[in-house]
Symmetry: C2
Subunit: 451 residues, 2 copies
């Protein structure tokens, strides 16, 4: 977090503020006249990042026919079957998540779909024999560390699950509050977590946070931690080269989870084996529209979910799994590949930080994160400025995530948080977009201060 | 349907039957000694059929990068987005189903998943604003034409939907019964239909059947026809060459639906626009494990489902859709491709028919279908012989679909129906498997007659 500057808008007189506002409005008009079309709304990989995975398209060829029958299983992977995915793909996704292959189900192209599915199953069928949430007398509740990921919140809203905001700090959710809710209320059934490079703050959960999660004693037996490890291997600095210096154990052992305690191990140690669900995908590793998603959990949870899954599908697209395995046979290959993403992404994060520092630090009307991984920068401005800022930016051709989206029900109580997604625009576009954003932040702040 | 033979087991004396049983048991022992491993259980394409689509794997290559940005839409199809699929893929699937692209959602690799999803949505959220089925005072019910598809029945059982058996004739379900249930009971919410080359009987719904479906006036406003058009283009005789003789209208006009009335048109004509859901996939066109699935319905239904779908996914694997479009750009290409499947499949269906005719027609203890498309032969034996037959076959190394699977709750009231899936084994294996099956049918029948 950047500190508030000393020489700040707060020290200006009303006429000074008005003068400053006029200056910024002039700048804004100049931006608006350019009829820009820039987008910092969603965490989409850029075309340049997608190009990194073009070799994926050549990994499985028509001429491969005889090999197609193998693929690490007795099944022809062009055919039906393989409910939980190719054994080697389960193993690869397990190595990303820090769990054995047997604890992994691989399927579809979207971890969001897997999260939706797990919640829908709990609503309709309960969890390991518990009462289906749809049949409870009260309304089921989820804890929602915020700012957080809007699509998590949308799943809750869709199913009528009440959302309780829990503040998110740099070490994870406020665990005192989490413990209080989880241990005190049988209707609290889950919590959404993005433990590593959280969306949007980029924070990484501390070991203490993970340990306190593992030590929870929920009032509800069917309480689950929804651990969305979307950015498990998404550092903004190179990893593969540095991890090469580590003592060489198995090539699939876990530098990826360096810096964050293994949730499964922690939960097993506290005899809380079934409390966790983990999710990830290759959407931001290979192709966002053609990757592979995975779910992981305890043996007992996995067995129960397999029994339900067979009702829904005969099996996933195993050809695309094999394609991925040939490009990324193990975790070392994944990390080498992720270093190439980092090389594209980190200058973009740096550019936004540089522009915001240049334009905002003097004014002292906001602070923002400077994450070491993930896809977002989280900006907190003065109260009652976020909606106005996003509106101004849109007026100048810069699309941002809607203000409020990072809070349950789209309602940021302070109207202060803005999620910045620097990945998609080119570096030049991004610098321009960040300047526009900074200008809009200044205007919204000045308007607020002048009220 | 083959007719019962004249010179039949029924005309034999008890000692003649016993003698015949001894003969068949000797044959059976000889089969068993071969330690066969044959499988006629599921409608899986054979490796030879899968080979037909190997060119699919070369359709989208790494070198294609610039083209990737187009794909019939403004979106890079390697990236997120495209909730309902590529426009051209919606159009292609629409041409298979006989509906415009705007009425189609394309996504995932499994039409079964789409059916599951539609039922789960209705359970949790209702249909176009109706009361969610999970909150009804009574139990929701589905009509299940039988014999039918076990995975349809499994979805109902999973969600606790009561299944009502409706007899299936050669022209479709008993429509008197369908009308009676649908129009008389507000808890009847759906019916499973495989209108063309039904699973397992291979029957094709008559125009009158389709018209009576379109004219239904359900007691429940949220009643839907679940029209699983799994075999829409799956003739066992060549189509492309014959349809070339038709007057050339648009290349995408509909020879595929020749012989079956267009359900959407029929429903629109009766102002029943929203009553139908249609499903299909390319699982038995290209790769069963790596195809593309589609759902179609009225504009109003599609809009409502899109609003729900965005909660579950950011978009499907559009790269695989583009791959399919390049191999199969239009319906004519699909039909040409299907003719190649037909050339592989029809000798297999003929072989089973020949063996059963040779071995069973004299005995007069069963009849079976001789379908013009689809994946199955449906065999009806003497009452109380199906379970025993399947058990005997398994003992001789021939795996069949479990007896009863073609009825709701796995309970065939007569214990007489067996589903035969001739697609997967090679022709030689299949002939042997059919001989084993015939022998088992004879033994089970003789045992029954001697009781």
């Amino acid at each position: 977090m950047k500190e508030w500057a000393l020489k700040a808008y707060r020290d200006m007189s009303e006429s000074e503020l008005a003068c400053e506002l006029a200056i910024q409005k002039e700048r804004y008009a100049a931006f608006a006249a350019q009829e820009l079309k820039l987008n910092m709304a969603r965490g989409k990989p850029s075309p340049e990042q997608l190009d990194l995975s073009l070799p994926l398209l050549d990994m499985v060829r028509g001429a491969d026919a005889p090999e197609l029958l193998l693929a690490g299983s007795a099944e022809d992977y062009r055919n039906y079957g393989g409910l939980v995915g190719l054994p080697k793909m389960r193993s690869l996704m397990g190595s990303i998540l820090g769990v054995p292959a047997a604890n992994v189900i691989v399927g579809g192209n979207s971890s969001l779909s897997l999260m939706y599915y797990l919640v829908s199953l709990a609503m309709m069928r309960g969890v390991l024999g518990s009462e289906p949430w749809a049949r409870l007398e009260g309304t089921p509740k989820f804890l929602c560390p915020a700012p957080g990921y809007d699509r998590h919140f949308a799943i809750c809203e869709f199913f009528g699950i009440e959302m309780i905001v829990v503040p998110l700090s740099e070490t994870g959710p406020d665990m005192d509050l989490v413990e209080q809710h989880v241990q005190g209320d049988e209707l609290v059934k889950g919590i959404w977590c993005v433990p590593r490079f959280s969306n949007p703050t980029g924070c990484v959960y501390s070991n203490e946070t993970v340990e306190r999660f593992a030590a929870l004693r929920p009032a509800a037996k069917d309480f689950r931690i929804y651990w969305d490890n979307a950015y498990a291997v998404h550092e903004l600095l190179p990893v593969a080269s540095s991890s090469a210096d580590l003592p060489a154990s198995s090539p699939d052992s876990l530098p990826a989870s360096t810096g964050i305690l293994n949730l499964m191990d922690a939960c097993n140690a506290t005899a809380n084996d079934n409390i966790w669900y983990q999710f990830c995908s290759t959407s931001k590793i290979t192709f966002a529209g053609g990757g592979v998603a995975a779910f992981a959990s305890s043996a007992e949870n996995i067995k129960s979910i397999m029994d339900a899954l067979i009702i829904r599908t005969i099996g996933p697209d195993k050809i695309n799994q094999e394609r991925h395995l040939r490009l990324l046979p193990n975790l070392a290959a994944v990390q080498e590949h992720m270093d190439k993403h980092a090389a594209i992404l980190s200058p973009k994060f740096a550019a936004v930080d540089r522009v915001l520092t240049d334009q905002l630090s003097e004014a002292g009307i906001g602070r923002w994160t400077n994450p070491e991984g993930g896809y977002f920068i989280s900006f907190d401005g003065l109260p009652r400025t976020a909606i106005r800022t996003v509106e101004l930016a849109e007026g100048a051709g810069v699309v941002l995530t809607p203000a409020g989206a990072t809070y349950p029900y789209g309602k940021d109580p302070l109207d202060a948080n803005i999620r910045i997604a620097p990945s998609y625009p080119s570096l030049n576009e991004l610098e321009l977009a960040a300047e526009v954003l900074a200008c809009c932040i200044l205007i919204a702040s000045l308007e607020q201060l002048l009220k």
